[in-house]
């Protein structure tokens, strides 16, 4: 199998960090060409610092990192100090101890790094956005010609059956719905790991102990990320485990066979006073529109957990 060249566009965030570690653990399948950062789970400064700290902790210094959008394309930022703290803590990545960043972000912007990486690549690039879609939308607005050099977009965002920030909307899409609309209407193939699948992709307390007992520093670090992140899932969302949303976007690229998918048309609602940011999926094809997304509706949860634990412990070898 040929390696898939990817760019991770993220806002770490516990699950972004775990997604990044998973991608690093499968070098025979994935090659991370660049990491671009967006504000989301925390401010841009904090999400950037978190990405650098995670890469540093994993001993990776050679992947270029660049800072992107600190606010949505058109709307005022819903991001206020404190609003996401209950999920990711004050740092955006509370919980485990981490080193200070061992390297600096590139001087260029995320947009410039996206353009440079895509232009220089001989193969088509797969984008893996796990935060608000502002950077990716900016790329398509500025350089629509580069769409043809993108293989597909495997993203975490949205959800057909429920939201997680409003009843109808998932956070990443809700933060910047216009950006999401630009991305979903771009014509580039999209794989949507929304809440339909990510709510099934959870790690139980028992499984997290199995992970911790692997004993390596990355395994223990991942277990500690889950310790913190899962508090919100158990206490506020009343979910049966720690939901590793963003990791689904990576796991799908490495292990598509464990997921249940359906080709659908997906629109992004921009106007509804109660529904802005909803990914309006049409699995029944009632509107007969072009199927622009592969929506993930299910996953073999036990297999997912097993592969996740294996990925985290592989990095310690």
């Amino acid at each position: 199998m040929r390696k898939i060249p990817i760019i991770m566009d993220c806002d770490p965030g516990h699950d972004d960090a775990l997604a990044m570690l998973w991608a690093l653990s499968e070098p025979e399948k994935l090659e991370i060409k660049a990491v671009t950062i967006v504000a989301g789970n925390q401010t841009l400064e904090k999400t950037t610092r978190n990405a650098l700290r995670v890469l540093t902790f994993a001993g990776v210094h050679n992947i270029p990192v660049a800072m992107g959008a600190d606010h949505p394309l058109m709307r005022p930022s819903i991001f206020e100090e404190g609003v996401t703290e209950m999920v990711h803590g004050q740092s955006g990545l509370d919980g485990p101890a981490m080193p200070e960043p061992g390297f600096a972000p590139k001087k260029m912007s995320a947009l410039q790094l996206l353009i440079k990486t895509i232009e220089e690549s001989e193969e088509k690039i797969t984008l893996v956005p796990t935060g608000p879609l502002t950077n990716i939308a900016a790329l398509f607005l500025v350089r629509p010609d580069l769409k043809e050099k993108i293989e597909r977009i495997s993203l975490m965002g949205g959800g057909a059956y429920t939201g997680n920030w409003t009843p109808a909307a998932e956070y990443n899409i809700y933060v910047d719905p216009e950006a999401a609309s630009i991305v979903f209407n771009s014509g580039v193939p999209i794989v949507m790991a929304g809440l339909d699948v990510t709510h099934q992709a959870y790690i139980t307390r028992e499984e997290n102990e199995i992970l911790r007992q692997k004993g390596g520093r990355i395994a223990v670090f991942a277990a500690e990320l889950i310790d913190f992140f899962s508090r919100y899932h158990y206490e506020v969302e009343k979910l049966p485990g720690c939901t590793i949303h963003d990791a689904c976007a990576v796991a799908y690229l490495c292990h598509p066979e464990i997921f249940v998918e359906k080709q659908c048309h997906v629109d992004i609602e921009l106007e509804g006073s109660l529904t802005a940011g909803t990914t309006v999926c049409d699995p029944g094809n009632y509107e007969g529109k072009e199927k622009n997304a592969t929506v993930l509706y299910g996953v073999d949860r036990e297999k997912f957990a097993e592969l996740f634990i294996e990925a985290m412990s592989k990095l310690d070898k």
Partner: protein
Amino acid sequence: MAKIPLIIDCDPGHDDAIALMLAASASDVFDLRAVTTVGGAQSVDKTFYNARRVLTVIGLDVPVARGAAQPMVRKALSGTEIVHGESGLDGPRLPEPDLTPCNLTAFELLCKVLEEAEEPVTICPTGPMTNIGILLAVRPDLKKKIKEFSIMGGGFYMGNWTAAAEFNILADPEAAKIMFDSGIPIIMSGLDVTHKAYVTREENEVIRANGNRCSVLAAELIDYFSRYHYEVEHLPGCTLHDPCAVAYLLKPEIFTGKLCHVDIDVNGQYTLGKTIVDWFDHTHKEKNVLVLHDVDRPAFVELLTTQLAKLR
């Protein structure tokens, strides 16, 4: 146990017709006081006619009234003939109506039954909510005479007319909003549960083999109605949406639901008519709706089959 005083507000419609039969079959449980009709599956003239034809076959002489021809605010949806045919009830042969005429409009009949009721009445809307929206908007004083609504409408995992919206809600979102905002308890049989409440071809033959007139009529309605489910929607059987709203009242223990806040979208570009179910209680708004999301399907089919056998 005292009988449940019941009004069915419907737009027959194949599944409405079977819902009427199911309600009529349980005369030990329901005191069916009125049937009001609304435009939806077809024009209100046709649904009014269809309701009376079906009740004539059942032999139940209940007051039936013609209701709203148009949604409260918007224009009526078109294109329903693909589901229910030109008559709104294509397929089986039906007799001409032979019921004692009722000279009241649906609004008047709803008011009369509620005013005369000594205990709160359960209303079962299985079409667009226009008659209910008008009632609640014009006579809010009668809210206290309504025990609950057991409705067929909405759905949170998908729509069936647009991607986001189910037909009955989309057909009159403002009316639905009035009902959902009314404070009266609602049991919502949306697509989440109704897509699980289907009858297979084999099961329909068991219904037909009951042999009584109403069972044969139900089987023939299912024959016609299921074509849309198999050929257009690619579902595993004939989806008996509307009977769920009655079946819940008859046998709640076969259904699974969750109490949630539900809002109706009335201004979305793509989400108009969506039932926004706050499954995870993000808004902390009052939990006004029991959202049914699962049914013991074999028990549902068994209930339907045995109840239909009790009719003529």
